[in-house]
């Protein structure tokens, strides 16, 4: 029995990666959920909006670096975020003006808007590839580790290492700040309240004198900001590659639907549910269990429910279960 080592191994291979990945998914799902609540369609271009935002963050990071500006131990990309958000907002508002506004004026069905968003997705995907290509880009700088595994081992004398990367800590902190700011905005400010009113009952909101264009604009800006932050954090934590963002669309939608489409709290819960189930199911438990059971009890097996190749499949299984059992999601969205 060695509870301490088991806890450290659990933190190192399950808790820390799960919290980080969950935060990234939650931010992505928040954006999808918000667009769905206010604009009433599933925005399939969200994954590529994230990629676009990340590309902007990378370009501005390079610009700041060439000027000799850095954020010390933190990644420079954090300083580039406001600029990247501005650029992504311009892009997204332009898209709305060119594509979505036309369908909105026509009172098109949500399914048509959704299909239009798939078109936007392909255009954006191509655009992003034209800027940075399909190569892998690593743009994290500053200190790599908040807690280096080797340093942890020497400091505690435990057999198991624990590593916390700066990007992982930054991801969680930034996600908490973003979520807090978003809830404050939606619940306390006039614009936020008008957005919720617009989302609950469009006709009633219009009658009360809410300016729909303004609500739509603010929604897009917030969605662009969330996408840029989520994409940049993911890129900092792992690395940037355009296809990866395209692939992230699916777990993000799974998170939003599991939590309940249109519900901000649901999106956050959904993000962590998906992230942790992917990791819990595909994790090999033999090491952690080995510390908790008397020696020789476990034998040779890895105690792994599914091979890591099936990681993506896990989120779909959960999605199917939720759609069958509780189609409105955990928080009862739309």
């Amino acid at each position: 029995m060695d509870i301490l080592n088991a806890l450290v191994a659990f933190a190192n291979f399950v808790l820390v990666p799960g919290l980080t990945y969950g935060s990234q998914l939650a931010l992505g799902a928040l954006g999808v959920s918000l667009v769905f609540a206010v604009l009433r369609f599933s925005n399939f271009a969200h994954g590529d909006t994230m990629a676009f935002g990340t590309v902007m963050a990378i370009l501005f990071t390079w610009m700041l670096q060439s000027w000799g500006i850095s954020a010390g131990p933190l990644p420079t990309a954090l300083l580039a975020l406001p600029l990247a958000i501005a650029a992504t907002s311009v892009m997204v508002l332009g898209t709305d003006r060119l594509v979505y506004r036309f369908y909105r004026r026509q009172k098109a069905k949500p399914i048509i808007l959704m299909i239009a968003s798939i078109g936007v997705m392909f255009v954006m995907n191509g655009l992003v590839r034209m800027i940075l290509g399909t190569r892998e880009v690593q743009f994290a700088d500053g200190e790599r580790f908040l807690l280096a595994p080797a340093a942890f081992r020497t400091a505690t004398g435990l057999a198991e290492p624990l590593g916390i990367r700066t990007s992982q800590a930054v991801t969680v902190v930034v996600a908490v700040i973003c979520v807090a700011a978003l809830f404050w905005f939606l619940n306390r400010t006039r614009t936020g309240k008008s957005m919720r009113a617009f989302s609950d009952n469009e006709d009633l909101a219009l009658l009360s004198g809410i300016n729909p264009d303004r609500v739509v604009m603010v929604t897009w800006i917030i969605a662009a900001a969330l996408a840029t932050i989520a994409g940049t954090l993911y890129g900092l934590d792992k690395n940037y590659r355009v296809f990866v963002y395209f692939g992230m669309l699916l777990p993000i939608f799974a998170s939003a639907i599991v939590g309940g489409l249109g519900s901000p709290i649901g999106a956050i819960i959904g993000g962590f549910v998906i992230a942790f189930s992917e990791i819990l199911v595909t994790n090999a438990w033999s090491k952690i269990l080995g510390y908790l059971t008397p020696e020789g009890w476990l034998g040779e097996g890895l105690y792994q429910a599914l091979s890591t190749d099936y990681k993506v499949a896990v989120s779909f299984v959960i999605l199917i279960i939720v759609l069958l059992v509780k189609p409105n999601g955990i928080m009862g969205g739309k």
Binding site: P17, Q138, P149, R165, N283, T308, D309
Partner: protein, 400 residues
């Protein structure tokens, strides 16, 4: 037309001066298809060896060798076999240098070389399957099998006293083949393989894969992948969680980009990659330049093609016959020399000398451009550079 006339004139001259037999060697390479960029240089290297022999005038019975090119296409087995069939029936070649890619080589071996009793010597087919194919002693290759590196990796690990390894391989034919070869060789050496799991290339996040590897444990993590793909991602995620501190790095992981991105945590990791330290390699490169200024002899498998051609000719000389059934038994003899190592070492550019030595009844040990030594099954041992990362540099430990 002018070239054609010149060529026929040259042929006529050659035929006129040759007092005896004209010996044709087939050069069956993929002049079209996936390896069309390297095939021309391979053929040039083979023809360079032939020219060297002819210029020396030392071949027995006044033999004059010539090359007959044919297209293997690299991928189309039926096209390759019919091209090989044509070489045998209409050109009457006495050996085939080729084929190039493993698939067509296996097809040509089973449906042309064995039925016709012809020697087939490939400069570039690396599939481990060819080691076990029945060949009646007719098939040789001057490039090591992919499985060979697994044996070398196991040797390196065993020499360093490693007791257990975890293996992560790229989910590709190459990665799987190499991982299986390493696992088999390591277990034969008494090294425990705790896990042999794949990773997909092109993913952003490998923490789940690394968690499984860490759970299995082991002294060393052997990464049989690609340096600019998942292999690097696996190492990065491993370093980030501190799961392993020493890495085994086969040839696919060799590259400056790895030491640049990972940096200090790679210190003390080691591995090996195919690399020639043969004394004659530089001579061969110089000869290539002199033979044709536009011929870059360092392209893939070109030195192997030179060696393949030279070995066939030397074996014919040793047997005193161009009949494949007779000279095939001499191939091992001229390439490896006597077991006591008394054979005179033959480097590129010394083919004339080698022919003289054979004629005088002396033993030779052909090393050539790639350091050829055959194993019992007709594979070469290959030369590998064992490296270790010290101060961010891939330092040579030794060649093996």
């Amino acid at each position: 037309m002018k070239k054609f006339l010149l060529a026929t004139a040259a042929c006529a001259l050659a035929a006129g001066s040759a007092s005896a037999e004209d010996v044709k060697l087939g050069v069956l390479l993929g002049f079209t298809g996936p390896i069309e960029t390297i095939a021309p240089n391979m053929a040039l290297a083979a023809e360079m060896a032939i020219k060297e022999v002819n210029d020396s005038g030392k071949a027995a019975n006044g033999w004059v060798f010539s090359a007959e090119r044919a297209d293997s296409t690299c991928i189309d087995a039926s096209a390759a076999t019919s091209a090989a069939e044509r070489l045998v029936t209409s050109a009457g070649v006495k050996a085939i240098i080729g084929a190039d890619c493993s698939g067509v080589t296996r097809a040509v071996l089973s449906s042309v070389a064995i039925p016709n009793g012809l020697v087939l010597i490939s400069p570039s087919a690396t599939s481990p399957a060819l080691s076990d194919d029945p060949d009646e002693g007719l098939f040789y290759r001057t490039v090591p099998s992919d499985a060979r590196e697994g044996v070398i990796m196991a040797d390196v690990l065993a020499e360093r006293g490693v007791k257990s390894i975890a293996i992560s391989y790229s989910n590709s034919d190459y990665g799987k083949g190499q991982a299986d070869a390493i696992a088999a060789a390591a277990e034969a050496k008494g090294i425990k393989v705790t896990i042999n799991a794949s990773h997909d290339d092109g993913k952003a996040d490998y923490s789940a894969e690394v968690a499984a590897l860490a759970a299995a444990g082991g002294d060393v993590l052997v990464v049989a992948g690609y340096v600019d793909q998942g292999g690097k991602g696996i190492i990065q995620a491993t370093v980030d969680t501190g799961a392993f501190t020493v890495f085994g790095l086969p040839g696919g992981m060799f590259g400056e980009s790895l030491t640049q991105t990972i940096g200090a945590p790679l210190e003390g990791s080691y591995g090996q990659h195919p690399s020639s330290d043969a004394a004659g390699y530089q001579t061969y490169l110089d000869m290539a330049k002199a033979y044709d200024p536009s011929f870059d002899g360092s392209t893939n498998f070109a030195p192997n093609s030179y060696d393949a051609t030279a070995i066939v000719i030397l074996a014919m000389q040793a047997a005193g016959s161009t009949d494949p059934k007779v000279y095939k038994d001499k191939i091992m003899e001229v390439a490896n020399g006597p077991a006591d190592g008394s054979g005179e070492v033959i480097n590129p550019g010394e083919l004339g000398k080698a022919l003289e030595l054979i004629a005088a009844g002396k033993a030779i040990n052909y090393e050539g451009a790639t350091g050829v030594t055959f194993l019992e099954n007709g594979d070469v041992t290959g030369r590998y550079r064992e490296y270790e990362i010290k101060d961010g540099v891939w330092e040579t430990v030794k060649y093996r």
